[in-house]
């Protein structure tokens, strides 16, 4: 279940991410790989305690060691302020507006989804591309950044389902604590 987006919004975000980074051969589209889950987890990061901003460590458990990425790292006061500003915006709070108002990602996505329209999922691809091109540039840039993060970031953040993004490009991701042997480093 989404934590921040509605079910409809979740589907639209996935479709937008697939437009920005579509499937190409063995590489999945960003939406297909779970990009909407990634965006939803980020926009709703403060629904959790600790917030789901920084995954834990040191090991994912995929190559040995105790799996610890899901032990999310607690945030300090200044760190939390920064991320609340980034995600929630300043919302008129003087503590967040020391350099003026800050537009949060929740609002950027919210306005972007409104601009895409309720009928977005019913459009054909060409019409979707045209509708997306008419949205605010800040929305498109943010969504593209998140598409990249969702495809190629660690799966603990919600995207890169089954490491499909990494499999598409032959990237190993976290290799600790096994690491690479000297031969694997030095040889072709």
């Amino acid at each position: 279940m989404p934590v921040w987006l509605s079910a409809d919004e979740h589907r639209v975000v996935g479709a937008v991410l697939d437009l920005l980074v579509p499937r190409n051969g063995p590489s999945p589209g960003a939406g297909e790989a779970g990009g909407a889950d990634y965006v939803d987890g980020l926009l709703g990061a403060f629904s959790f305690d600790p917030p789901h901003i920084w995954a834990g460590g040191p090991f994912s458990g995929r190559n040995g060691g105790e799996a610890s990425f899901e032990k999310w790292i607690p945030m300090g006061a200044l760190e939390e302020l920064a991320w609340r500003m980034r995600i929630e915006g300043s919302q008129g709070d003087p503590e967040r507006e020391f350099n003026g108002p800050v537009l949060g990602w929740q609002q950027v996505y919210g306005e972007g989804l409104v601009a895409l329209g309720d009928d977005f999922l019913g459009l054909d691809e060409a019409a979707r591309v045209q509708r997306l091109a008419g949205t605010d540039e800040a929305f498109r840039e943010l969504a593209f950044t998140h598409a990249c993060e969702a495809l190629y970031g660690d799966p603990v953040y919600g995207g890169n389902h089954d490491r499909s993004g990494w499999h598409g490009i032959g990237f190993a991701g976290d290799v600790q604590p096994r690491g690479w042997t000297d031969v694997e480093v030095e040889q072709p």
């Binding site: 190409n24 610890s68 760190e79 500003m85 350099n99 290799v175 480093v185």
Partner: protein
């Protein structure tokens, strides 16, 4: 709690900043029985503050956390910096992330991939050896390489440096590296061989990364998440080794999320009494100490001093800001180089620092007396999120990522070019932008000297040719900051990308032309010491961290009354300034 012999004090020394220099100060002072409080404005993601001070486990092979999401800070939303090239740009051109070394326990040492070369003999006598440069303030250091050599040797032992003595241009050494070098990256085997064919002198770069178990920490296992990342297994020694030793004495208290607002002063204005700071709840607290040790880095140290107009009788606080002028030559290869394995940089060459007839001619042709480049790192990058953003959206994206021109098939030379000191290049306080605590943001005003541009332009075609000979299908050079007319500026930004920030509280023998004296003390406030890279009179062309640690060690040992004796070169070991072929520079 820690205690001092003087009940009016909280500790013998309060250290502002916990990066390589602050950690060095804490290590040495506590080793000599002093009590210290280390105040770090960033959060603690490094080390458990309870004995036995093991790792917190926050570091991992996670690009999102470390690169995209500012784990190590400073977050530009709450600690913005501003940039402009010259005063003609107005108050600023840019607000946000400007050379923002980590703001976290461990500072810049936490994220670095720990390339730890020494400076050369000439770097400490640049004015004497090579002479002045119009528009720049070229000076000698107030001490010689021979004076610093024992501190270099100590620093290499304290951190744990792996290297080998095969660089013909390296300064002389009183002993061997503590560890042999680690595994060469595959790309480095190609680029070092090609560099040799070009008549250059590549060598395995000294790094503060364990190649064998050292100081209770394991050998590096080549995971590849190195530059920009904390080490999940503590194979990198700086700064964790230094801080852990200090904490284990029981005489060091490390307080994270502690933002120093002011140095408190005695009524006569000539001695500091400690510092005031805000804790994580923004409660104002004070630490009373016999000595204040500033280790906040060459950006934050002058910012703090400028806020209270302290130590600035020379008017030079914040001035003579230096970076390394970075010349980045990338080549794309027909086969994968898997730069995601191993340390980010395992090879280097120094030939462009030493120069030759061709570089001397390039200087003359440009109307300059001399040019010096910098250490050239042979390295690669392995992070897919960063690569993905370069390709932009569209149907091509997946194929571009699989081809991986900018990651798996890319190899790069990065020349850390010497940046001449110019008084107009400076850190000051932005008149408009504030941080989350309400204090003026630091502002960078920086424009490169023609020396940097000419040195870069001279080296670039040489580096491109080497990469092509190594097998690259194409090679391209860009610089940071961008040279005039460089179309790459939109990608790299106008502000220097280098995290090597130096020179803003210059050390020197004359209070009229320097901010701290040769012992590292503010001329105007004798019990305030500066131990970070802001004291550097010149930038040299070498990564600065080992010199930061060595200089900090020297300053602290002078304070302790326990200096190390100068060492001497082996017979024939020290070289006069000369071209690579041995002839004097003309």
């Amino acid at each position: 709690m820690i205690a001092t012999a003087d009940p009016t004090l909280d500790c013998d020394a309060v250290i502002v900043g916990s990066g390589p220099s602050g950690a060095t100060a804490a290590d040495l002072l506590t080793a000599h029985g002093w009590t210290v409080v280390v105040l770090e404005k960033g959060a603690n993601h490094l080390i458990d503050l309870e004995p036995p001070h093991g790792p917190l486990g926050h570091s991992s092979n996670d690009e999102l956390k470390s690169i995209q999401r500012h784990l190590l800070g400073p977050d530009p939303l709450v600690e913005p910096r501003t940039f402009r090239r010259t005063e003609a740009d107005g108050d600023h051109l840019f607000v946000g992330h400007v050379n923002s070394l980590p703001s976290t326990v461990g500072g810049g040492g936490f994220h670095a991939d720990a390339k730890l070369p020494r400076f050369r003999e000439d770097d400490f006598r640049l004015r004497s050896a090579l002479g002045p440069h119009e528009g720049a303030d070229v000076v000698d250091w107030p001490f010689a390489y021979a004076d610093l050599e024992p501190y270099y040797a100590e620093a290499e032992r304290l951190i744990g440096v792996a290297g080998e003595e095969t660089n013909p241009f390296a300064a002389w050494r009183s002993g061997s590296f503590p560890m042999p070098p680690g595994a060469d990256m595959f790309g480095a085997t190609l680029s070092m061989a090609a560099a040799e064919r070009a008549g250059l002198h590549p060598y395995r770069c000294p790094t503060g990364v364990n190649s064998v178990p050292y100081d209770g920490r394991p050998a590096c296992n080549n995971c590849g998440f190195c530059g920009g990342y904390g080490c999940p297994i503590e194979a990198k020694g700086d700064p964790v080794a230094l801080l852990r030793r200090a904490l284990l004495t029981g005489r060091c208290q490390l307080r994270a999320e502690s933002y120093v607002t002011a140095i408190t002063m005695a009524a006569d204005g000539r001695r500091a009494t400690g510092v005031r700071y805000l804790d994580d709840q923004r409660q104002e607290l004070e630490v009373r100490a016999a000595h204040v040790v500033l280790a906040a880095g060459a950006f934050e140290t002058p910012r703090l001093l400028l806020r209270q107009a302290l130590g600035n009788s020379s008017g030079l606080v914040g001035r003579n800001l230096m970076y390394h002028f970075q010349t980045m030559t990338v080549g794309s290869f027909p086969m994968p180089l898997h730069a995601s394995r191993g340390r980010c940089v395992t090879g280097a060459h120094d030939d462009h620092i030493v120069g030759n007839d061709a570089s001397a001619a390039a200087a003359r042709d440009a109307g300059l007396p001399w040019i010096r480049g910098g250490l050239v790192e042979h390295g690669g990058a392995g992070e897919p999120v960063r690569e993905a953003q370069y390709y932009g959206p569209g149907t091509h994206h997946g194929a571009a990522m699989r081809r991986s021109t900018l990651r798996d098939r890319m190899w790069a030379f990065t020349m850390q070019g010497e940046d001449l000191a110019q008084p107009t290049n400076r850190i000051d306080l932005d008149p408009q932008v504030r941080d989350a605590f309400g204090y003026p943001a630091g502002r960078v005003t920086y424009n490169p000297h023609p020396h940097e541009l000419v040195a870069s332009a001279h080296a670039a075609p040489i580096l491109e040719a080497v990469l092509r000979d190594a097998g690259a299908e194409w090679a391209h050079t860009s610089t940071s900051p961008p040279a005039p007319g460089d179309r790459s500026a939109a990608v790299l930004g106008q502000a220097p990308a280098s995290y090597h920030v130096m020179g803003t509280t210059r050390m020197g023998p004359d209070p009229a032309t320097s901010v701290v004296n040769p012992e590292g003390r503010l001329w105007n406030v004798e019990n305030v010491l500066v131990v970070d890279s802001s004291v550097f009179p010149t930038s040299a062309g070498y990564n600065p961290t080992l010199t930061i640690v060595a200089t900090a060690s020297r300053t602290v040992r002078l304070l302790l009354g326990a200096p190390l004796d100068a060492t001497a070169p082996q017979p024939g070991g020290e070289r006069p300034p000369a071209l690579a072929d041995g002839r004097p520079i003309t």
